[in-house]
């Protein structure tokens, strides 16, 4: 029954992501089709589903911090080829992930005029993180702060309910 499964090459994901951003950048003025929210949601959906696969063989997470560390290490490095450079937390539900060289910001210029377009390159990833955490039981808001490309900070705020 087992059919040899092909592995999709990394480069296709780069191209797909770039095309998603493009689709959003060129969306019609009324913003109905393909605005940043859609891009974030595509990321959310992907993150939610992939975490189901990734944690299949993983021991149970002890607590919130352990879950965050998983996102910063194993999860991040299997997608973005490196671990998060720094994780800060106030131990009260706020986490900041420091990424010194974000994969999707490296390809675009560091000039300030491109800073405007930069949010579109991190939207998918914000959604990805939010989706992954949501499926692990942590409802969060995730935003990105870009001051100096290609560095980026992801701010995660766990919602208390």
């Amino acid at each position: 029954m087992s059919v040899s499964k092909g592995l999709v090459d990394d480069v296709l994901f780069e191209f797909l992501h770039a095309e998603l951003v493009s689709y959003v950048l060129n969306s019609s003025k009324d913003g109905k089709k393909g605005d940043v929210t859609s891009l974030e949601y595509i990321g959310f959906s992907s993150g939610y589903r992939i975490i189901e696969r990734l944690t299949k063989e993983w021991p149970r997470f002890k607590d919130e911090l352990e879950t965050m560390k998983f996102i910063c290490t194993d999860f991040w490095s299997s997608i973005y080829k490196k671990q998060i450079d720094n994780l800060r937390t106030n131990h009260q539900g706020v986490y900041v992930l420091h990424e010194n060289s974000f994969r999707f910001l490296r390809k675009i210029s560091s000039g300030r005029q491109y800073l405007e377009a930069a949010p579109k390159f991190v939207a998918f990833t914000c959604g990805l993180i939010r989706g992954a955490l949501a499926n692990l039981g942590l409802d969060c808001t995730v935003t990105a702060e870009i001051q100096q490309m290609p560095a980026c900070k992801f701010h995660i705020q766990v919602q208390k309910n």
């Binding site: 959906s45 939610y48 189901e52 696969r53 299949k56 021991p59 149970r60 002890k62 499926n135 039981g137």
Partner: protein, 136 residues
């Protein structure tokens, strides 16, 4: 091997229940409901080592049935009911059932047309569960 399988969502509502004997369905719905309380208790148990495993073992048993549980990192619970008279059923066979259920569930979640939290209506999933229940 198994007479009933249930998949319970994060909100503790059932997403899928299959009973080989439709007459026992109501009874099993009740059993599954009771199981959830036992699951919660077991998850709170102190002793780091035990809680790490996704398989949480036998939840309880009645004269006729033994009930086993498994909880994923994403808070999805699988409940499997076997007949008490089935004494040849080994621990690793039960674990294998859960692993296969988990794999099948993961595939459902990865279907882009499935909305997580909805009842599971996938034919593939149904076929797989039936196969698992018969011991394959």
């Amino acid at each position: 091997m198994a007479v009933c399988v249930a998949v319970i969502g994060k909100d503790n509502s059932p997403k899928y229940i299959l009973c080989l004997n439709p007459n026992q369905e109501l009874q099993f719905h009740y059993r599954v409901h009771t199981s959830l309380d036992v699951v919660e208790e077991k998850l709170k148990a102190t002793g780091d080592r035990d809680v790490r495993e996704l398989y949480i073992g036998q939840l309880y048993s009645t004269e006729e049935h033994k009930i086993f549980g498994y909880v994923t990192n994403t808070r999805i619970k699988f409940i499997v009911v076997v007949e008490s008279s089935n004494t040849s059923l080994r621990d690793n066979e039960v674990r294998m059932m859960f692993r296969n259920l988990h794999s099948a569930y993961t595939d459902v979640v990865c279907n882009p047309f499935y909305i997580p939290g909805d009842p599971i209506t996938s034919k593939n999933f149904d076929n797989t569960v039936r196969r698992i229940m018969s011991g394959n």
